[in-house]
């Protein structure tokens, strides 16, 4: 029995089809990431799996239980952290955790060992109202509340959105620790760099899954050599590369432009020469290994041309 399995799930909001026949499975004790831009349908999948929405077609099972027929059972065994902070801002840290513990029929003390690494950081502020916490603190509180009943599956919808870099890093460390407790975690994020923290990822775009694999294997599907190119004028560079006859893909990436070529045996010199011939002075062209973001961009582009 897989903790999470979704088969051909569809969901529409009026005329807009948010999820277009998605299927995936998550093995026990895995940290599974749904990666995709805003509007890809990630939150809809979370809401289906947490029994807040019924799929129009297809089925979704959590811990082997159907999200429509057995929603009551599921709710006892899953933890959910919605994308938007959804705790009581007018209750204190401790009151929030105690309240959620009580509605699950447990207490803070009973499951303290599980939340200890997270909650201990909050304890100095336990009398502070949740509304007065910083973004990172709120996120830790929300995670504590989602964990207080020792769930078997944890759903985290964009937990790191709007959180500073240090807190984000800490947060992923906490997730790895939870994995060791054999909790299955489904997490979504719009940040590609976080995808590499997951055991497996599903790249999502426009209500569909483009690819499911480990982050390493997904980046390996990137066959062509990837080049990072930098010049003084990035805009001009993008224009030049796009009009280059051998160009396969051109993606701005921070101060660099990531570029792939159609030719099999292309050298950095070929690209340099082309740019110099167009009057670019001192271009930097470096061969780099693709990361998941490059893969995602390429898959998205393929999808668009395919359509």
């Amino acid at each position: 029995m897989k903790p999470i399995s979704v088969h051909h799930a569809h969901k529409s909001y009026g005329a807009k089809e948010a999820v277009k026949g998605i299927s995936f499975e998550v093995d026990e004790g895995l940290l599974f990431g749904l990666i995709g831009p805003d509007g890809a349908g990630k939150t809809t999948i979370f809401r289906i799996l947490t029994t807040l929405l019924k799929p129009d077609k297809g089925e979704a099972l959590v811990l082997g239980l159907d999200v429509v027929d057995d929603y009551r059972q599921i709710r006892k065994h899953v933890g959910y952290m919605p994308g938007r902070f959804s705790l009581y801002q007018d209750l204190s840290v401790e009151e929030n955790v105690a309240f959620f513990a009580s509605v699950f029929g447990t207490t803070i003390d009973a499951n303290y060992d599980l939340i200890e690494p997270i909650y201990s950081q909050l304890e100095p502020f336990k009398d502070r109202l949740a509304g007065a916490l910083s973004g990172g603190m709120k996120q830790k509180l929300a995670l504590s509340c989602a964990l207080i009943h020792k769930p078997e599956v944890l759903f985290l919808d964009e937990p790191t959105t709007g959180v500073d870099a240090v807190s984000r890093k800490e947060f992923w460390q906490m997730l790895h620790r939870l994995k060791e407790e054999n909790i299955t975690i489904l997490v979504s994020t719009p940040y590609m760099d976080e995808a590499e923290q997951c055991d497996r990822v599903a790249l999502m775009q426009d209500g569909q899954i483009l690819s499911i694999d480990t982050p390493e294997r997904i980046t390996k599907t990137f066959h062509n050599q990837l080049w990072a190119i930098k010049t003084e004028n990035k805009y001009q560079l993008i224009q030049l590369l796009r009009s280059y006859e051998y160009a396969e893909s051109v993606q701005p990436f921070g101060e660099y432009v990531h570029y792939t070529d159609k030719r099999e045996e292309v050298q950095a010199e070929h690209i340099m020469e082309y740019l110099k011939s167009k009057g670019v002075i001192n271009p930097t062209v470096v061969a780099i290994a693709p990361d998941i973001e490059d893969t995602f961009m390429r898959l998205m582009e393929q999808e668009e041309t395919y359509e």
């Binding site: 709710r75 899953v78 938007r84 959804s86 007018d90 209750l91 009151e95 309240f99 959620f100 009580s102």
Partner: protein, 372 residues
């Protein structure tokens, strides 16, 4: 049961922490009753009037003095032209133009029928009615006293029917006694309809409902957790209001308090059901507030609080059967002022019960649908 207890605990914690709301809840009955008793009154004082006395006799002067002596009227000006009086009325200098005809004293002395004219500014119908009432009673009083001075009338034994009015249950026609029960009804309706409905919408507006829905809390537990605190607060408020009315303003309480609180409990279920229903059709507190106010104003205007239901057109009177506030105002007045018992109010309680039985489950049903 345990879950409900935890939900209630949480609600009360939030309510008592809400610094913007809590003082208002307890200040409201005091402010409303104080304002009502000192400011909102139907009594009129010092109404300016214009005098057109064509008679210029002893009798006419006595009548004018009598008008002034009551304290209700104040002689602003006088002339010998009725149009002056009308003009003064138009410019809002006076509200009454009193015209005494030339043969006033003479006719009185001859024992004939004498008349005076009261021209009243009736833009404000209520005030006009009061001026007319006061004026009429002053003139009647005058005519009954003038008789002994008019020697040469043949005192024919005036056969006729004298009407002796006696105001029961409110002997002095005290406005406060009549209004207090109604104001208290509005007070607890506001708590029932606004606060509990608003509280549910708030959970949706700030997104906490999302988190709650993924817990094993059942909907009925959630709804009880939302309605019960304000049910309790509203009854508590009613108690405070009644104490203030009884000890502070001397409003009598003749009937049974148990009966009244029992019925109030049913009435609150009706208004809370309405509040819950509003919460199921709205997404924000603003929308909910707006709809609740709309309903509330209709209920109050047609509920017999300010204007008697008996003076409404027939269609409006028939519509009041759907107005819980009208029924409860009537019950409150009967029980408080008349000491009505179960037998006298049972048909109204029956109506309220039917409403509660219909509205509450309907709202709960709609609540389920709107959130699943």
């Amino acid at each position: 049961m345990r879950t409900i207890r935890f939900l209630l605990q949480k609600e009360f914690l939030q309510i008592f922490r809400n610094k913007g709301m809590l003082p208002i809840i307890f200040l409201m009955p005091v402010v409303q009753l104080v304002l009502l008793s000192f400011a909102a009154t139907y009594e009129i004082r010092e109404v300016n009037f214009h005098l057109i006395d064509f008679d210029q006799s002893e009798a006419s002067q006595q009548l004018v003095q009598k008008f002034q002596a009551t304290g209700y009227f104040n002689l602003q000006s006088s002339s010998f032209n009725v149009d002056d009086g009308i003009e003064k009325m138009r410019s809002n200098d006076v509200r009454l133009a009193l015209v005494i005809p030339q043969d006033f004293e003479q006719r009185l002395k001859l024992g004939q029928f004498a008349s005076v004219q009261l021209n009243i500014d009736a833009v404000d119908g209520t005030t006009a009615g009061l001026i007319q009432g006061y004026g009429r009673s002053i003139i009647q009083d005058f005519s009954s006293r003038i008789r002994p001075n008019v020697e040469n009338i043949k005192l024919t034994n005036q056969q006729g029917i004298e009407v002796i009015p006696a105001s029961w249950y409110n002997p002095n026609l005290d406005y406060i006694q009549y209004m207090v029960p109604g104001i208290l009804v509005v007070l607890i309706s506001m708590i029932g309809m606004f606060l509990s409905g608003m509280n549910i919408v708030r959970e949706r507006e700030i997104g906490t409902i999302e988190q709650l829905n993924v817990t094993p809390i059942k909907r009925y537990q959630f709804i009880i957790g939302k309605l019960l605190p304000f049910w309790i607060i509203a009854l508590f408020e009613l108690g405070i209001g009644l104490l203030i009315a009884y000890y502070g303003f001397g409003v009598p309480f003749v009937g049974s308090a148990w009966l009244l609180f029992g019925i109030a409990g049913i009435f609150l279920l009706v208004v809370q059901g309405l509040g819950l229903f509003i919460s199921t059709i709205t997404d924000t507190q603003q929308q909910a507030m707006f709809i609740a106010w709309f309903l509330m104003v209709v209920f109050i205007l047609m509920g017999g609080l300010f204007t008697p239901i008996q003076s409404m057109p027939v269609w409006a009177q028939e519509l009041t059967i759907f107005n819980p506030i009208a029924h409860f105002i009537e019950i409150m007045r009967s029980v408080m002022l008349k000491g009505a018992g179960w037998f006298e109010v049972q048909h109204l309680v029956g109506l309220l019960t039917v409403m509660a039985v219909l509205i509450l489950p309907a709202s709960i049903f709609r609540y389920r649908k709107s959130t699943s």
